[in-house]
């Protein structure tokens, strides 16, 4: 899960990392109160769990009431990379001398936490120059190492002290919360040489959620995602019109790719898990039936151990209960597939021997 900026900053504040005054709101009335409390000038920042906000116009300077009344609703209405605003953060304007970059992330190939720091921050990580990279194992950053990084960045005096302090606090936070990535970009050197985190990105390891009740309040799931999770599914909503269902994340991704290659637009990614049962496939169909944009369902199951007849039963039950009236294009590989095909004869589920055929039929089917 990627936290919103204001949520990441709540954690930063808890760990004593320097921040500017800021307040988050979800409507303009609330925002007006915050504007009064903070005082102009401030920055209006959209809260979405994706990057690239600045470029998309999601960060706007605000000097007075007129600007506020104009810009707050504008920013609130933005959709960035398919994500609508979850909140608006008002943050005091800063008098910045220089923008640095600092992150700690879980290095997947090296299997340890790694620091990336640079004196040239404020741009996306791919464009950050002169990166200083340090692998740090599984423990917190030591005093010596933090000093070494500051030295390599050629920071001095109060700035160096502030940086060292921030790095150590950030590392404590990262380790204690088992984050996959924590990034401050930009980390600013202010006119008075103090160090302040201007932005915050925080990605959790969701598999460690059971140890972190304190992070649960940040979970932002749609009702449908929550139900999918309860059933042990992985669901990612997409904006097309063909729902893609399969067993196994790799197989469903491969099906999305092939569908897109053939001009189809996926409405969702739904992995029912390695196995598939009558119940799980029925529940998957129930979830999909509630997505309005769906015009057809593409099912790609590789049932190695699963009998395909078990899956066919789910389709039949779904029709019997009037759960779905959408066409289903299905490729069921596995044991008893002939029997499954026989069972589904005359129903709205069309069975294909290859996934390519099922995809072509689905793309044609939703067009008509």
């Amino acid at each position: 899960m990627q936290l919103l900026e204001f949520q990441a900053k709540e954690l930063f504040r808890e760990y004593g990392i320097n921040l500017l005054d800021s307040m988050s709101s979800t409507n303009i009335e609330e925002g007006r109160k915050h504007a009064k409390e903070l005082g102009y000038p401030f920055v209006i920042k959209i809260q979405v769990p994706v990057g690239g906000r600045g470029k998309a116009g999601g960060i706007q300077k605000c000097q007075n009431d007129d600007e506020f009344e104009l810009k707050y609703p504008q920013v609130m209405d933005l959709t960035i990379k398919g994500e609508k605003a979850r909140a608006i953060l008002l943050e005091k304007m800063a008098d910045i001398k220089k923008e640095l970059y600092l992150s700690l992330f879980l290095n997947r190939s090296k299997r340890c936490y790694t620091i990336i720091a640079s004196v040239e921050g404020g741009v996306e990580i791919e464009s950050v120059k002169n990166q200083i990279i340090k692998e740090i194992g599984l423990g917190e950053v030591s005093d010596e190492l933090a000093k070494e990084v500051a030295k390599e960045m050629e920071l001095e005096g109060k700035t160096a002290d502030g940086f060292i302090d921030t790095l150590k606090k950030l590392s404590k936070l990262t380790i204690e919360k088992e984050a996959e990535l924590v990034e401050i970009n930009p980390l600013a050197i202010m006119q008075d040489n103090s160090i302040v985190a201007l932005d915050g990105k925080f990605v959790t390891d969701d598999n460690s959620n059971f140890r972190h009740d304190e992070l649960q309040k940040y979970q932002e799931k749609t009702e449908i995602e929550e139900r999918a999770e309860k059933s042990g599914f992985s669901l990612v909503e997409l904006d097309g019109n063909i729902a893609v269902v399969g067993n196994g994340a790799g197989l469903v991704m491969a099906t999305l790719d092939m569908l897109s290659d053939n001009g189809g637009k996926p409405a969702c990614f739904l992995d029912v898990g390695g196995g598939a049962t009558t119940e799980s496939v029925y529940e998957a169909l129930t979830l999909i039936s509630e997505l309005d944009r769906v015009k057809g369902i593409l099912v790609n199951l590789y049932g190695g151990i699963v009998k395909t007849t078990v899956v066919a039963e789910a389709f039949l039950k779904a029709y019997e209960n009037n759960l779905i009236d959408l066409p289903v294009f299905s490729r069921l590989k596995g044991t008893e597939s002939e029997k499954a095909t026989e069972m589904l004869k005359g129903s709205r589920t069309k069975i294909f021997t290859t996934v390519e055929d099922a995809i072509n039929a689905a793309v044609m089917g939703v067009k008509n």
Partner: protein, 305 residues
Amino acid sequence: MTDIFELLKGSPGDSDYEKKGVIVQGITGAYGSLHASNMISYGTNVVAGVTPGKGGQKFDDTVPIYNTMHEAVDATSAKISIMFVPAKFFLGAAKEAINAGIKLLVAIPEHVPIRDTMEALELAKQKGAVIIGPNTPGIMIPELIKIGIMPSMPFKAGRIAVLSKSGTLLYEISDALTNAGFGQSITIGIGGDPVNGTRLIDAFEMVKDIPNLEGMVVVGEIGGDSEEILAQQIMDSGFNKPTVAYIAGRAAPKEKRMGHAGAIVMGTYGSAESKVSMFNKANIPVAKRPTEVPVLLAGKMEKSD
């Protein structure tokens, strides 16, 4: 480097040659018992099961169950275990297995916290053990030994090594290979987690010197940079067996986790483009569809003849 064939098969002359003992951790659970039975049917020599509190009982009237890994290893001298426990018990079970002397641990559970995987790996390193997974379908030498949850049907003995991050794609692509006449010498499920006990490069090291190896298939997916590192390693090592790759997730949106904990693109880190371009640089063709893999492999073989 671990000699994976020595672990899985042994050497001619060993009393347990081609029937290495395997212990099943969590053998009495629904999942564990189903797959223990499937492995036994496949010919895997399952010598013991472990379920705390069920010591003294027998699985399927034949396989003795022990309360702890120490007891099971003492009684059987097995060096291999496969684990079916809930993710939150992975670390405890992994430590118990490795401390008991297990040298190859196949970890099936999905949703293991990354930190637990990393801790288990530190211990494995100290003790000279190999972890495959977590979140893996397992490892097999077709028609000889299966330590995992994969169905038997797609696989056939042969001379192609298949390394895969995904379970169902491993089945799908092995199936396509088998149908095209390409049997498999070994298949290794890497797992779909961000941190893998055996990374793609580790698996490559395990298979690259197999005598009579005729080719290699790499099934990758978005997330991380293990495919890129593998492509570099293939170039650096001068490995010249025909190799084909497949990468899932080209159409996936950025910054969304696509089912597997590890399948997420952050910026350009983990993108399909980055992986495909590295494989291309290493002169490894990347299939657009699973069924294209055997076609490309046959093409590479023709060229190398």
